[in-house]
Symmetry: D2
Subunit: 278 residues, 4 copies
């Protein structure tokens, strides 16, 4: 497994270069970043050199297609998806991720049908470029009733959805926060094959009843109550060897400079990786 | 378009032969029947001769796979689907249909994901044998709240679902009763391409507020308030040339012998076909 | 059926506007043109007005993706496919076509596997925008041995390939020249369903043995030996109502101004359409 | 990795029970066997007990569908595929395999199109039951020209074909004999992800020029010239943990009783597994 850094939890960053530098200086091996933006700014060759010079690779890019609203928005986003995929490929990245909101104002079954078709099309384009699509189920309870109709939020439902999408390059984004807020345990991870997991997020939760853990109330790994050692051990047991990326979503911007926060996050990773024997 | 007869609306029949005879004697050109049962009873060769001797073909067979409940039930049904498809093919039938209940006790989005995968698998097997799968949306309002969660019941949702299933041999079963109870009109049919329609049901509705029209409260064509002339004309306009089959679902068994009821149904078809200029 | 004009057979044209003007002035209702180029030059709104002001629509755009050579070339082309599809959609065009060379220097089976995957991906992107992909089988005998290994050139093989590609928006581009050089007849067209045909080319062949008819030795409709009346009648019989576009490929540029040649082509269309009773 | 026994290389066996007994007595953990036959003879429950009582599981079943000849033969085989898959599932088997002949009397490109569609349909049915389909590329040089047209025989071509089939449950059957006769080496295996391999065969080749190694001239593991230690080490390196099954095809039936031959094979497995440090 490779430690990954994203901008979430570092406060406002100047640009992508800063994220790459912070990752390299603090023991992270991957960054979650906009590959196309990086390639556009520097050219693929120089972008690869920039990453290499800091000893990091791109862990995952975000899915740039709006699949949750109108067909027009979807088709507008689709226009550039192949370029995003080509840029990710050119920079050595093989992962693209999106998250699933647990409820929706649209009729749930109809939205599921539309979203299945749209994400399949996204996966098909990504697959042409050797990129996998990771779907992140989202566990916090307050989001299940945030919009009018329940959608899906469990790992099992998400795996079933992946079956419905039916493309071989689609898998899970497994976030420790959603694993925890779904009440899952180590054996649920051990039941997975490693190729079912596209990407992993590592976050911790405050010591509140699990039903009250807010999506944007996350802590750095090791500062909360989630069994992250068990989480990481289970991933190692099944043979997952991809990135494990922090994504500290919080209501208030975190206190401290990006440099301080990245260093802190690196120490937090040290702690939980050590606890997992990694 | 070819007039089609099913057992629904004829009272209890002795067997399939009776349905075939009644169809032939009363101006119907197709029957909706169990092809595999017929082939098993008579052998394919004789079954074809039986149909031909009465001047009828098989319009559609029912989907023999339970896709609405457990995975076990689904896989059990899948075991014989290819044999059903092979029998249909051997008897010259190219249509297989199933209906969609407008509500479900399962979580709607998750059920949609499961059902999408299951119906896709059904379509793939049917497609190998040159059989198309027709999905019947079901309009009566009382069924939309019959089970805990709304599913889908409109033509547009069903077309979107067909897109999500993603197999080229899946289309609509268009039933005049569901067209009516969905508040659709002639232009909704005219917006379709003929290959989007796999099969058609022809039924009429009593003169009650549309919200109160019950799924099993159907009338023979021409005896109710549905604009069946407009319905048939629109189908002809777009070039649909498949079967148009009666399916008179009622709470009480209809009064009269099967012979009387089939003759009556034939007259009803004469009337609405004439009104449509067919 | 709508008469279609392409640049092939008109000599060198100044630009797309000239093609649109020539089409409108000579009784053609569609043009085969680069939709994305047109939209880029004028904007979608004005491009639509330009087309409408001459009474023409876009019949088909060419597939801008190189699927016959390297994976790199394929992925490079894929980067802009969605934009081409979006432009076609914005200008009201629903067809995109490519042709199949009857022989290849690559190992035939392996190339078929690669090409199947690549064209499927193209079809998936096009399908998202409501665009169908037409595959043109190419009949002239000299091309069957032009490269080292025979590939496919018959209509039946092409239909089987469409089955292997497995996307519902893929069909035939039926060119009268390839129909003729394959020795096909009216009944072969009558065996098709109209939705299997995405696009039609109308060309004639010189009075030489069919084995000697060269791919770039085509004549204007009605000036050669192909039974174009039968060809068009069969298309009407099955209900094909899309464009029928000239594509006069010749070794030497045709003699005459584009205006003269387009007028001539219009007269040729008049003749064969009249002979077909259209 | 689990050692697997098949009937190939044991001489004539009385029945499946004998194969299971021989496997259990000689250190094999899986057998390649007809699951449906076993379930039909004993019932699923008792068949499971029989296997368990000898400490073996079913490694793989053969694909019971003829995909290489006529459409009729294909559809005939498809009729029972789901039952085979259901029986395999009931007995805990998750693999089904078929081999690819390197040449064909059919036109190669057309046959590739047909076979792609047919194997996709097979994979779809198998996938419904949680069964993966393994495709075995076949390397011996004499078979490449045995029939009129070259088809495919390399690992790379087979991986490309798997991409064209496009179902997530299709992968390689990797046979050491075909690995050797294709001139592949350890790094070719190390370039694979473990989930790309559905099943493995372990055989050895005589000390003849590789071009002369006959498909039915195989030796027990360790008795020939193939670097089986390297082969097994590479499989371990990438994390393959499925069955590794003998399949000793020979022109003459092997000399010795099944008991003697199975014991010999077990010793051969001991030797090469030890050499690989397994």
């Amino acid at each position: 497994m490779r430690r990954g850094l994203s901008g979430a939890g570092l406060g406002p960053l100047k640009d992508e270069i800063q994220l790459i530098e912070l990752a390299g200086r603090n023991g992270f091996e991957t960054v979650d970043i906009d590959a196309r933006g990086l390639a556009a700014r520097f050219g693929a060759e120089q972008a690869r050199e920039l990453l290499a010079s800091h000893g990091v690779e791109i862990g995952s890019v975000g899915l740039p297609v709006e699949w949750r609203t109108t067909e027009e928005a979807f088709l507008e986003g689709m226009k550039t998806l192949a370029e995003h995929a080509a840029a990710a490929r050119a920079l050595g990245c093989t992962r693209c991720c999106t998250y699933i909101l647990p409820s929706t104002d649209l009729p749930a079954a109809h939205f599921m049908a539309l979203a299945t078709r749209r994400l399949r099309t996204c996966a098909q384009v990504l697959g042409a470029y050797g990129i996998r699509l990771g779907l992140e189920f989202v566990g916090p309870h307050h989001l299940r009733t945030r919009w009018a109709n329940p959608f899906i939020w469990t790992m099992e439902e998400t795996l079933d959805w992946i079956g419905a999408i039916g493309e071989s390059n689609v898998g899970l984004l497994l976030d420790s926060y959603h694993w925890y807020t779904n009440g899952l345990n180590v054996s649920d991870i051990e039941a997975l094959r490693p190729e079912q997991i596209v990407h992993v997020h590592l976050n911790d939760a405050p010591d509140v009843p699990v039903e009250e853990a807010l999506d944007n109330g996350r802590l750095y790994p090791g500062e909360g109550v989630i069994d992250l050692a068990g989480f990481l051990k289970a991933l190692r047991t099944i043979g997952y060897d991809g990135p494990v990326c922090q994504e500290i979503l919080s209501q208030e911007p975190p206190r401290g400079t990006p440099e301080e926060l990245a260093r802190h996050s690196g120490h937090c990773f040290d702690k939980v990786f050590a606890a997992a024997g990694l």
